[in-house]
């Protein structure tokens, strides 16, 4: 079994307050791992530690085989990230954004052009490739942002609340993109506070107040907590 993420007793404290409290879990290659929880449960903090932009207070973790404390720079070539805040430059065109992000991952121009064309074709963006991002509707922007986050073909991509503020149809399309990525062998680590999105994930962990209160497949969680959907599970755990 090929583990892409291995986390052991990871903790992040701000004074007495533990934003992430002693969590441990593994993520297998090609999996869609859902990181669920209410706002402020510690999802984003955990993700920041895994992507190497936040130092853990204690515990250890490996992502794509690299230590999150000591091998941050090697690690960064292997991961993609899509932040909660919108991360494309509004005053650059679609193509320019792709070129920039591809460039800072060290891709050569030929590869960038190939992958840009592939992406444009796949998403059907032929007529807006030279449009400024600020003029593109939000739903499309999210899809573009996802494609940009995977332009360097990372082993794993972290998505922080990628679907917040998007209509249900676009959300559905967005998940299609995620599935497509997993078919290419990319592992997906996604946080969300939409409990219904849990059904799209292979495995789910439920975070409450910095701790992982439950983890497993959808069926496992539903049976274990005797619930009919994830909302019920969440309400039971949060109580």
């Amino acid at each position: 079994m090929n583990k892409v993420i291995e986390v052991e007793n990871l903790t992040r404290a701000y004074g007495d307050f533990k934003a992430v409290d002693n969590i441990s879990f593994d993520v297998k290659k090609g999996e869609i791992f859902g990181f669920l929880g209410a706002n402020g449960a510690g999802k984003t903090t955990a993700m920041k530690m895994l992507t190497g932009i936040l130092e853990p207070t204690s515990g250890k973790g490996k992502v794509a085989g690299f230590d999150i404390k000591t091998q941050r720079n090697q690690l960064k070539y292997k991961i993609g990230y899509m932040s909660q805040k919108f991360s494309l430059y509004e005053d650059l065109t679609l193509k320019e954004n792709v070129k920039f992000y591809g460039g800072i991952y060290g891709l050569d121009n030929k590869t960038i052009v190939e992958r840009t064309n592939l992406m444009i074709e796949r998403l059907g963006l032929e007529n807006i490739e030279d449009t400024l991002i600020s003029e593109i509707p939000l739903g499309w922007k999210q899809k573009i942002a996802f494609s940009v986050a995977t332009i360097h073909q990372p082993e794993i991509v972290f998505l922080d609340e990628p679907t917040s503020g998007v209509d249900p149809i676009t959300r559905r399309q967005f998940w299609d993109l995620i599935y497509q990525a997993t078919e290419e062998g990319i592992t997906v680590f996604v946080t969300t506070h939409y409990m219904d999105e849990a059904e799209y994930c292979d495995r789910i962990s439920m975070m409450v107040q910095g701790r992982i209160e439950a983890m497993g497949t959808l069926e496992e969680l539903l049976t274990k907590h005797n619930a009919k959907d994830m909302n019920e599970v969440f309400l039971k755990l949060a109580r």
């Binding site: 991961i79 990230y81 650059l92 992000y101 460039g103 800072i104 991952y105």
Partner: protein, 370 residues
């Protein structure tokens, strides 16, 4: 490594040139201001409104008034009483009142002493001082002439001052001010743009995306810095063209030296901007801090007021003012033709300053928080 930097540079350029209003502002405003403001910064005092209260109305007093009017500095008007004169000063209509006493002519012709009173509006102290100087010289000259007439000696023996004004024999203010104002404009543009730069990525959130990419702090700062160096050099070149073609400011020294110094200076100012950008959270904050320092730098640069006249502690403060060194070197090289050896002291300081600020910017730009 170089490839990554190149992509950042390319992106920064695209962003700068995309916003047409900004491009207009970045290039148009300095050019316009260099043209206009170079004419404004002139300490020479002209068009002084003098009101003369002539209580004598003798040929001698008329002669003195003629002497004053032939000096070109004064606009002469009459006033009947001192009190009326004062109320004119109050209304900002008069700058100075000159009162000639009743028996002025008689006393001079009989070899007695007499007194002329000058009353100045001293709110603008330097203007009042200059006006006083002008009048004293005219009156002294007039006295000498009167004295010579009486004792019939051609020359009062004494010391003649032979006065030479090197480097700017016509005392043209623009020759002095154009390089200085150019320095200010380049400094402001560079400082404002760079201090807004990183904090802007923080504000719109793109910095989070950049933080998870493998780009290193140093690469990031260099990639951001270089486009602004290029921009600064372009501004400098345009400014230099205006200075030489329009204002006929000489460039006595080496052009290469000017450019080398400008590049180092730009890295200093941009490093300072980047540093500000790394520790602020919003563009508003960054702008404030940049504004705060630029006002201090400008007013304490020695461009408008002499550094030598400041108290000692303020002179020490001004040793940390980068504009001071750059203004100094621009003038030395452009107007006096100073060589690299002449300005090596300023050069070393600027280099060290630049290294320190850029190092601070790189260190302070944290890709990892906490």
């Amino acid at each position: 490594m170089f490839r990554k930097i190149r992509h950042i540079i390319e992106k920064e350029f695209k962003q700068i040139f995309r916003n047409k209003t900004m491009v207009g502002l970045i290039f148009g405003m300095p050019v316009l201001q260099l043209f206009i403001l170079s004419y404004a910064a002139d300490f020479e005092v002209k068009n002084i409104n003098i009101f003369i209260q002539d209580n004598d109305k003798s040929p001698t007093s008329t002669e003195l008034i003629q002497k004053i009017s032939s000096s070109d500095y004064f606009d002469i008007k009459d006033v009947d009483t001192y009190k009326n004169g004062l109320s004119l000063v109050e209304k900002n209509k008069a700058d100075v009142i000159l009162s000639i006493p009743q028996d002025f002519g008689k006393k001079i012709n009989t070899g007695n002493k007499t007194t002329i009173a000058i009353t100045l509006d001293a709110i603008n102290g330097s203007k009042a001082g200059v006006t006083q100087n002008y009048l004293q010289n005219i009156i002294l000259q007039f006295s000498k002439e009167k004295l010579n007439e009486k004792i019939k000696i051609d020359v009062i023996p004494g010391i003649d001052l032979i006065n030479r004004n090197w480097y700017n024999p016509t005392l043209d203010y623009k020759v002095f001010m154009v390089p200085g104002i150019l320095v200010l404009l380049i400094t402001m543009i560079s400082l404002f743009l760079s201090s807004m730069n990183i904090v802007r990525e923080k504000e719109v959130g793109t910095i989070e995306q950049l933080n998870v990419t493998p780009i290193k702090k140093g690469e990031f700062i260099i990639g951001k810095l270089l486009p602004f160096v290029v921009l600064g050099i372009a501004e400098f070149t345009i400014g230099l063209l205006i200075a030489t073609l329009w204002f006929h400011t000489p460039i006595e020294g080496s052009l290469l030296l000017l450019y080398i110094f400008t590049i180092v200076y730009l890295t200093l100012i941009l490093g300072m901007g980047m540093f500000i950008s790394t520790f602020t959270d919003t563009q508003q904050q960054a702008m404030f801090i940049a504004w705060f320092f630029s006002v201090i730098f400008i007013l304490m640069s020695g461009l408008f007021t002499p550094i030598e006249s400041m108290p000692d502690w303020a002179q020490i403060v001004s040793d940390f003012n980068p504009i001071k060194y750059y203004v100094d070197v621009m003038r030395l090289v452009m107007l006096k033709g100073s060589s690299f050896a002449n300005v090596s002291y300023q050069f070393i300081i600027i280099v060290i300053y630049s290294i320190v600020l850029n190092a601070l910017a790189v260190l302070n730009y944290r890709k990892t928080s906490g």
